[in-house]
């Protein structure tokens, strides 16, 4: 048996085959210049319809109040908070790819970072709908912020819900700034490519007059590094603070110190599944298979098996601690999760998050587009159900059996969930038409031969 020697001192190429910078420009900017295809219009009408369902549901909620939702005592956090945590989690993969993998010098991220960052922004936008509606009076959002008002009152700085406001709004702002900063050179490239005067004006404004000067790149790279350095602890803090919404309370099943790392791992897990699913469609549709390669997708699947296993380990730890704590309520909550009225949701969560991703140990499955797409889909379903299980089972049966209840979402709840998916995919469909889905500058810098040879 012969063992093939692998030279690990040489970095693998990120891009398949031979390509040139001008070819990259042509293929990436092609969707921006041509009229949308029939497939795009079909997809757009589907997501637009979903968005419409969401708009109708939100209008009904605003007109008639939260009584149109399924929430009531004792389950006062239902679909709204489940969806909020789910969407914020989806966003985390984008920052992980764009910032953390940048700091770790993972060059394969260059092809997918732009798209993942866009997903972050859209996902956080979807997420912010839910707590805003949950306040009951979404037209008074200023009460969430500390501003000098006529009541002389301030916000409660000791409340995790207030921390959430700061965490999510900071996350959205910094992600958007990070995204835009990366887009500036690409807008300049598009400005110099386009022949249409209106587009030229728009791209000129957006590019700020970028000239690809290396005196500018010099500062630009430093600023990008600084932003990546700030975005890294930021992304970890966001889901940590979201988990504080639960962990700081005294509800059994919530009041645990494992929540912050467990939530962050789960967020990255679900986010990678969403990025992987979307990228499979994008690379197929826009023929970007040589820029977003199978190797890149395989690496994403490896991240998913890592984070999926962390999540599975956290599930096991929770059970162990519930038993080890000797707390009757804590033990009951976990037995109730697995065997109680919401056991079906619990087992969907376990099979989708812990069992199916283990198939990624097989290289064949890891590199099979249909298989990874289906597993990614399962992971998204499973992670949604994880939040459902955490929130609904703990609230529906906490301390006093006389105060137990059962939660059933209303049609309006389901409508807003569908609407949030509609908003997310509508924004993605619009994004792929107005901005390059792959960072031109970043992908060109990892084309074979793009960097000078080491000079002494």
């Amino acid at each position: 048996m012969s063992t093939a020697l692998v030279d690990y001192t040489r970095e693998e190429e990120v891009i398949a085959g031979r390509t040139t910078a001008s070819e990259i420009d042509a293929v990436v900017s092609a969707p921006l210049d041509r009229f949308p295809s029939r497939l795009w219009w079909i997809a757009f009408s589907v997501t637009g319809t979903m968005l419409g369902i969401g708009v109708v549901s939100i209008t009904i909620t605003v007109l008639f109040g939260l009584g149109t939702w399924g929430i009531n005592e004792p389950v006062s956090w239902g679909f709204d908070i489940v969806n909020f945590v789910f969407w914020v989690g989806i966003g985390h993969a984008g920052t992980l790819i764009s910032a953390i993998l940048f700091l770790l010098r993972q060059r394969w991220r260059n092809g997918i970072a732009r798209f993942a960052e866009a997903m972050t922004i859209f996902a956080v936008m979807c997420a912010s709908i839910f707590p805003l509606l949950h306040t009951g009076r979404p037209w008074l959002p200023m009460y969430l912020t500390p501003y000098p008002n006529q009541h002389g009152l301030w916000v409660n700085f000791t409340s995790p819900l207030l921390w959430d406001v700061f965490a999510v709004s900071t996350y959205l702002t910094v992600s958007a700034v990070f995204w835009y900063l990366g887009l500036v050179p690409d807008f300049a490239t598009l400005r110099d490519r386009t022949v249409k005067p209106v587009k030229k004006v728009i791209y000129s404004i957006l590019s700020l007059g970028w000239r690809h000067s290396n005196r500018h790149w010099h500062h630009f790279e430093r600023a990008y590094l600084i932003l990546a350095g700030f975005a890294t602890p930021l992304v970890l803090s966001v889901h940590t603070i979201v988990s504080f919404d639960f962990a700081v309370s005294v509800i059994p099943g919530w009041h645990t110190t494992i929540f912050p790392p467990y939530f962050v791992a789960g967020a990255v897990f679900s986010g990678f599944a969403m990025v992987q699913n979307s990228l499979i469609l994008v690379r197929q549709y826009f023929t970007l298979k040589h820029l977003i390669t199978l190797d890149t997708l395989e690496k994403m699947n490896k991240v998913m098996i890592l984070t999926g296993s962390m999540v599975g380990y956290a599930y096991a730890t929770e059970f162990f601690i519930a038993w080890y704590s000797g707390s009757q309520f804590e033990s009951f909550v976990f037995i109730n999760r697995a065997l109680g009225p919401y056991a079906w949701a619990y087992w969907i969560m376990i099979s989708c998050n812990v069992v199916f991703p283990q198939l990624f140990w097989f290289k064949k499955i890891r590199r099979s587009i249909p298989a990874m797409f289906v597993i990614g889909l399962f992971v998204n379903v499973g992670m949604w159900f994880e939040r459902f299980v955490i929130i609904v089972t703990s609230l529906s049966r906490d301390f006093l059996p006389t105060s137990w209840g059962h939660y059933v979402p209303s049609l309006i709840d389901v409508g807003i969930l569908i609407g949030s998916f509609g908003l997310f995919f509508t924004l993605i469909l619009l994004f792929v038409r107005v901005a390059p889905v792959i960072s031109l500058a970043e992908i060109k810098s990892v084309v074979p031969g793009a960097q000078p040879h080491h000079h002494s």
Binding site: S22, D25, R137, I205, G209, H212, N214, L227, A441
Partner: protein
């Protein structure tokens, strides 16, 4: 072309050729040159002898600003402006401030660093640079690697620059001219139009914020929460025949812990039938003093002398130190407080039964204190 020369540009075949050309250009003594490439070239900053970008120091300063600013704001709010006990914790619960302080540190450091980068280091937005729209820019924007040597370089001489660029294997050597009319070298921050724009933006933003916070939030349909299908006390209602939302109790209803006053309008009977149920202990006198100072003193004076604080806006009542009042039994004083007398209204609504008796004790104490006898001194 009559326009002045901005620079001479040249393109290079590869990043390696570009690095070599940059090194030669530096060696040749040119300082006002720039290197253009569609993506940052590793190590070219070293060849160009650029100093490390100082943006890190700005990020540190802006981060500290956010950290101290947010902690300072929270400290001022919770200690000075509106101290409020929350969950039995100290006013200054610093562990709870960590998340907000962290987020605002990151926010101010990230956003302000990028603003500094764009405004002060890149000097953007600037869409009127001579290199814009040149064939050279269109190449380096996509796949070209180029150098431009500017005409304001001290060592600039068109022929020798062209020769230099050709010698280091530059191709597409071209001159870039500019129209002095089109290039605005003025400080754009102080341009009146820019300042006007800023003022306009400030007016629109502050006006919009004012209208949103103070008007829109209280307009239909956002004030629907104010309109509820319930009746409030004192509010009119069309539901009841008398047009009032408030209901009076059924006749004869007696509230818990309350007995109707049996001697209303009958001072003689009150005088004969009522006796003070409280003993004049120090506690009762203190209670009577509080009640007296609250309810009686505005008209009767702090010491019962009839010296009203109302400065003649209301007829002064007689003194409580007169022989008439001194000789009254306790029941008569109680009766006057409960029932009212002349223009003094009944105080039974404001002062509870035991408090009225405590006031009687306190009035007795006032009388005794201000009509001391010789014998008291012994």
């Amino acid at each position: 072309m009559g326009n002045p020369l901005h620079s001479i540009t040249a393109l290079f075949a590869s990043p390696d050729a570009l690095v070599h050309a940059v090194q030669e250009t530096v060696k040749a003594g040119y300082t006002r040159y720039d290197v253009h490439s569609p993506y940052p070239i590793h190590g070219i900053g070293h060849s160009m002898r650029l100093r490390t970008s100082p943006l890190g120091y700005f990020a540190l300063a802006f981060g500290l600003l956010g950290a101290f600013g947010s902690v300072g704001l929270m400290t001022w709010i919770t200690l000075v402006d509106y101290p409020l006990v929350i969950g039995g914790k100290p006013f200054w619960s610093w562990p709870a401030f960590v998340p907000v302080a962290f987020e605002l540190t990151v926010l101010s450091a990230s956003v302000l660093t990028v603003v500094t980068l764009i405004v002060f280091y890149l000097k953007f937005p600037n869409n009127s640079h001579p290199l814009h729209d040149t064939p050279y820019m269109k190449r380096v924007s996509s796949d070209g690697f180029g150098i431009s040597i500017q005409s304001d370089d001290p060592a600039f001489d068109e022929a020798s620059v062209r020769a230099h660029l050709a010698r280091v294997a530059g191709t597409d050597i071209a001159a870039v001219y500019y129209d002095p009319e089109m290039i605005d070298h003025g400080q754009k921050l102080f341009d009146p139009r820019f300042i006007g724009l800023l003022i306009g933006v400030a007016l629109v933003v502050s006006g919009g914020t004012y209208i949103a916070l103070n008007k829109v939030a209280f307009m239909e349909p956002f004030n629907w929460m104010m309109e509820q299908g319930k009746l409030k006390a004192q509010a009119p209602s069309t539901f009841f025949a008398d047009g009032s939302g408030m209901r009076t109790p059924v006749p004869g209803t007696v509230a818990r812990g309350f007995l109707p006053y049996a001697f209303a309008g009958k001072p003689a009977e009150a005088e004969n039938n009522l006796a003070n149920p409280l003993a004049p202990t120090a506690e009762v006198l203190a209670r009577g003093r509080t009640q007296y100072l609250t309810f009686c003193s505005p008209c009767h004076g702090n010491f019962g002398r009839g010296d009203s604080r109302l400065r003649g806006q209301f007829p002064n009542p007689p003194t409580l130190l007169s022989d008439k009042v001194q000789n009254w039994p306790d029941g008569s004083i109680y009766h006057v407080i409960t029932n009212g007398q002349n223009i003094m209204p009944s105080y039974s609504g404001q002062i509870g039964r035991d408090d009225r008796w405590a006031i009687v004790h306190y009035v007795r104490a006032l009388e005794r204190a201000q009509s001391a006898k010789e014998s008291d001194l012994k």
